[in-house]
Amino acid sequence: MSDSVETAAVAAPAPSLNTGQSGTVVRSTVIRRLLRNPLGIIAMAILLAISLLAILAPVLAPFQENYSNIAKTLAAPDSVNILGTDSAGRDVWSRLLFGAQLTLLSALLCAGVAIAIGLPAGLIAGYYAGKFEAVSNWMVSILMSLPGLIVLLTIRAAFGPSVWISMIAFGILISPSYFRLTRTAVQSVRNELYVDAARVSGLSDLSIIARHIFSVVRAPIIIQTAAIAGVAIAIQSGLEFLGLGDPTKATWGVMLSEGFKNVYLNPTLLFWPALAMALTIGGLVLLGNAIRDALEDGEKIKHRKKAAQQKGTTAAPARAGQQRQSMAAVELGTEHHLVKVTNLGVGYPQADGSVKKVVDDVSFHVDRGEILGIVGESGSGKSQTAFSILGLLPDNARIVAGSIQFDGNYTVAPGEERVDQARLSRLRGKRISYIPQEPMSNLDPAFTIGYQLVTPMVRVLGIPKEEARKRALKLLADVGIANPERTFSAYPHEVSGGMAQRVLIAGAISCEPDLVIADEPTTALDVTVQADVLDLLRELQQRLNIGVILVTHNFGVVADLCDRVAVMQNGRLVEEGSVRDILRNPKEQYTRTLLASMLEGKTPMSMLVSSQKEPAA
């Protein structure tokens, strides 16, 4: 039974961590969003109704919980006993109400105890780490290895039947779920700048915890409490169902067991306590889900707003003229290009039915033996453009306009909504390949580097493993790895970032493609390694005579490596031409700004120094 709690603990923190920080504003919008979610309203209505019934039980219940009328056992509902009576002639409706009282109180007690232990322990362990954290983790691992019901049986054997003692014990047992939640949340904000700032400005640890950190864990704790209250109700009822609860109390578990004993005589006795349990626990589960959804929606809307704002600033009317001309030139060309992108638009459908465009009316081409740079700041749509050539856009992306041709054939024909995977999967690896930005996350940690180099060659080229292995070792040597044998048998976590990027470049050229798409291939690397990797790319490109699309935000890299360059801003192509023309005579204001921010009045990037080259023409 502790499994479902763990679920909530694992699922809850991730989406909600960033939300609580902005305090009351966010909170009130979350509540508003919660009130707009029908499931959230239903959940709250159910829980509210059950709470009210529980509180008003002494007033509403026509009989005392244990009052029995021996003359009237197992009676059908009538005007006196509206839900009938049980085998001892007790009123089912009254016992249901008193049972609700006890059930809710015991769930609250359990959650309260678990919070009182888990929250402070998690705060301390997360904030100060060290020995306390190690000891706590060890205790958590012990508590987690015990099945809740077995522990409660032990407690019952030791202390006798008591709802309160068993719920305190269960609260202790389940406190690790709060501990883990809080610790993880605190660890993730402990080193945030604003916490540092608070520390520097002389706030005590206590007030930092109270003000900054507590606001972060508040939302996940509410979600967690809903889950834990549900589990507590289930396990307490189970204990009472076994006949190990307090016999003087009316509880849903006892009523269920009563009904089960008389199942041949009056099965409806089972129905009411089972319904009450399912409604209460279900209400708690739904409430937890609704709060989580409300918090996640908040995140989404925030992102959307930000994107919209960025868009708003673009509406630059001036750029039309020249851009149109350069694009017209591309379109009119009848010559055979390696890649030809025509008026491409990429968008993402939104919840409200609109489509958010991230790439809009982009056209360019690349020829064999040519390096095209696509430059722009982050969010300009350059990576999205590159991924649509590869056919590796996220599932929810749509091609909203234009077409893509590779070597004369459409991979995205005009009017198609999605990239045709059947067409592209024949090209990927074999004719088009990809060098990613972040080396480490792009290798599967569970397989050796050798395996990850050999398999594509075996699959794509259809060569035997042994030959592929020889080729892989040669490739590793080609990309400048000193000890290919060792790297071949290493796992990704055993090599450095620069080495991993060389491995990825080796993988990209392993099947001798015609086009390599490199997405910021040096951004994640040390400055000294960057220059080497760029040299390697240029050397390979010239030797193999392949076309390269180099996506970057860095004009230095463009000047160093590219033949032509396309400048992108907010999903649109601003300017396109030879590197020399654009560096010497940028026509668009945006290009000038980009150039100015990168080259003028600054010490040149070190890769420019180390490679000592004129901008390639």
Binding site: M1, D3, S4, E6, T7, V10, A11, I142, M144, S145, L146, P147, G148, L149, I150, L153, T154, R156, A157, A158, I235, S237, G238, L242, L244, L256, F260, V263, Y264, P267, L270, A274, M277, A278, I281, G282, V285, L286, L392, S425, R428, G429, I432, S433, Y434, P436, E438, N442, D444, P445, A446, T455, P456, R459, V460, Y491, L504, G507, A508, C511
Partner: protein, 313 residues
């Protein structure tokens, strides 16, 4: 790898020791009038003192604990105070019944949850929505309530299954499987709904990783990516989910056995708890902890095999 296993085994033994000590002190420190309970109100003070001496209750707690440990290491877990049956014997006759059910349910959960979870993650659409709704319903209804509902409707009202499952394997495999069907279903419903949802999110998380995109860009087929790479990386999360469910099920099975009148650990544990038959309670706790430790060890080993990084650290 051997060092890794030895380390895990060692920490498992430490947990076993700590839990046994905690349970022992918890059980014995609070129950003052054990002998009086056993003999009843009519017994004289002399008889009570003799009983206390007989059970060793007149010795200090710590001494008693270590003599319990010494006995336990030689396979002697003491005897029930009420039936005088050796605890080890009762466990030996009952564990097979319970473990058969638990493992049958766990295997079915693993297969169904993995299958449904992976399909929901890959195909999305209606399967995914069914999994989401199923998880909410499964979370809302405790396993033993599902058991009660199943018996009432399928066994008692429709007569499709036997209501109690006391049939032993000797009466033919078919009848036995038939009699075990309902308790196993009652055990696995929550596991399948919860497990499928968690495995679904683990697989989705892996599908969104960068290396999956890079594998696609290398020309590796979708099926190979899913079965060789994604499932392998999602497996540790799935194993953790399953091992937590097994821990929970060791508790849940007690109630299920009670409902279906199965001669497993459940009735033993419930009777011993109600009477405060402490040697038996102690034995039940020990069996549970040993099962949990062994399962966690297996999960650790599997994870180490699946993920080379774990082996190193």
């Amino acid at each position: 790898m051997i060092r890794f296993i030895a380390k895990r085994l060692g920490s498992g033994l430490v947990v076993l020791f700590v839990v046994s000590a905690l349970t022992f002190f918890l059980l014995y420190v609070s129950s003052g009038s054990i002998a009086r309970n056993i003999l009843g109100d009519q017994a004289t003070a002399e008889q009570v003192a003799m009983k206390e001496h007989e059970l060793g209750l007149d010795q200090p707690l710590v001494v008693r604990y270590f003599s319990w440990v010494a006995d336990a290491l030689s396979g002697n877990l003491g005897a029930s105070w009420f039936t005088s049956e050796p605890v080890a014997n009762s466990l030996a006759t009952r564990i097979p019944v319970t473990m058969t059910m638990v493992f049958a349910a766990m295997i079915l959960i693993a297969v169904c949850a993995a299958l449904i979870g992976v399909v929901a993650a890959v195909k999305r659409g209606w399967v995914d929505r069914v999994v989401q709704v199923g998880a909410i319903i499964g979370d809302s209804i405790p396993g033993f309530v599902i058991g009660v509902i199943l018996v009432t409707i399928l066994a008692i009202q429709l007569g499709l299954f036997p209501a109690t499952s006391t049939i032993s394997p000797e009466s033919g495999p078919e009848a036995w499987v038939y009699s075990m069907a309902l308790p196993v279903i009652a055990l696995l419903v929550n596991g399948v709904t919860g497990g499928a949802q968690q495995i679904r999110s683990a697989v989705i998380k892996q599908l969104e990783r960068d290396y999956v995109r890079t594998l696609r860009s290398r020309g590796i087929g979708e099926r190979e990516i899913l079965f060789k790479h994604v499932l392998r990386s999602a497996a540790p999360a799935g194993l953790t989910v399953l091992s937590l469910q097994l821990v929970g099920m060791l508790g849940g099975v007690v109630i299920i056995e009670q409902i279906f009148a199965l001669p497993g650990m459940g009735p033993l544990a419930v009777a011993a708890t109600g009477q405060s038959d402490l040697p038996v309670v102690m034995g039940v706790v020990m069996y549970t902890v040993v099962v949990v430790i062994v399962v966690n060890l297996l999960v650790d080993i599997l994870n180490g095999w699946l993920n080379p990084k774990v082996r190193v650290s």
